[in-house]
Symmetry: C2
Subunit: 175 residues, 2 copies
């Protein structure tokens, strides 16, 4: 028998954004396993409007980290999985689908013992700069990038800028 | 010890869109467990720009099923979890975050033996009609609804309108 429902629900609840990483490389096979898992996420009309580019070299990660106000963690992550969104019509549907595949990436990473954190690249000129950095195909926008790595020691000192925790079920599931 | 990485990756890959359901109710406790799990999904600046409304009565499900071109499955699902998106600025970020929580809903449902399928309600006048049907709070848009239920026998006969399967890792993870 496989894992029980309660074990699986606990696994699904567990990931938290990881922004500090240990100095340990992420195996290419692990990144491939993450993509091989996340590709099964659903998308509108099965368009799969996503592609991935793995970035490990530090200069490129460092440049990417300056292309979004909250993207600093990309500089210190041993691996960054850039998510490309198909450009064009249906932008809202596409970004919803990108969210589905990003959550699958986060969970597959967690299954492998890896922490992750999603970064949004913006505004548009920063997305264009990222497209040049990762040599993105025409028609694909690198609006998102996910840091991957083994969790490190948080810098500590002071509370996070944004409160953690989540709303309760009673606040979320409306009568 | 908990489940191993390979078991967890297999679990994450497993869910497929379920559009036909057995005539068996979904326990309210299971819906609460799904929301209690999905609420841990990440969101930009931890805004949690999502709320949920559970719809089980058939007339409302039937009306919702006519508010999107691919939403027919909502009529036959014993439970429909309507996802409300926070209206206003940052629409793209919000829909990306809704995708994250929707993937978490799909996976939590699968952990409980439930099938699911995401429906998009559109165009805008249909979203407005859905808002009236579920008595949505001002500032919250019911653009998405997820069918939940125990999988039933597919109607069979003929292949699906949209090809199944997914692109390979080589097609998705670009050099």
């Amino acid at each position: 028998v496989g894992p029980g429902a309660n074990e699986l629900l606990a696994f699904l609840r567990a990931p938290r954004a990881t922004r500090t990483f240990a100095p340990r490389a992420v195996a290419a096979a692990d990144v491939e396993a993450i993509v091989a898992t996340a590709r099964w996420a659903g998308s509108a009309r099965n368009r799969q409007p996503w592609r991935f580019v793995l970035v490990t070299d530090e200069p490129t990660r460092e440049r990417l980290s300056r292309l979004g106000a909250y993207a600093g963690h990309l500089a210190g992550a041993p691996a960054v999985l850039v998510l490309l969104s198909r450009d064009g019509d249906g932008l809202i549907d596409t970004e919803f689908d990108l969210g589905r595949v990003a959550q699958a990436v986060t969970l597959a990473a967690h299954a492998l013992g890896l922490g992750s954190c999603v970064a949004t690249l913006y505004p548009d000129e920063n997305v264009a700069a990222a497209a040049r950095l990762v040599d993105a195909r025409v028609g694909w926008r690198p609006r998102l990038a996910i840091s991957l790595g083994y969790p490190g020691e948080p810098a500590g000192g002071g509370r996070p800028a944004i409160p953690r925790g989540r709303l309760s079920v009673d606040e979320l599931l409306l009568p």
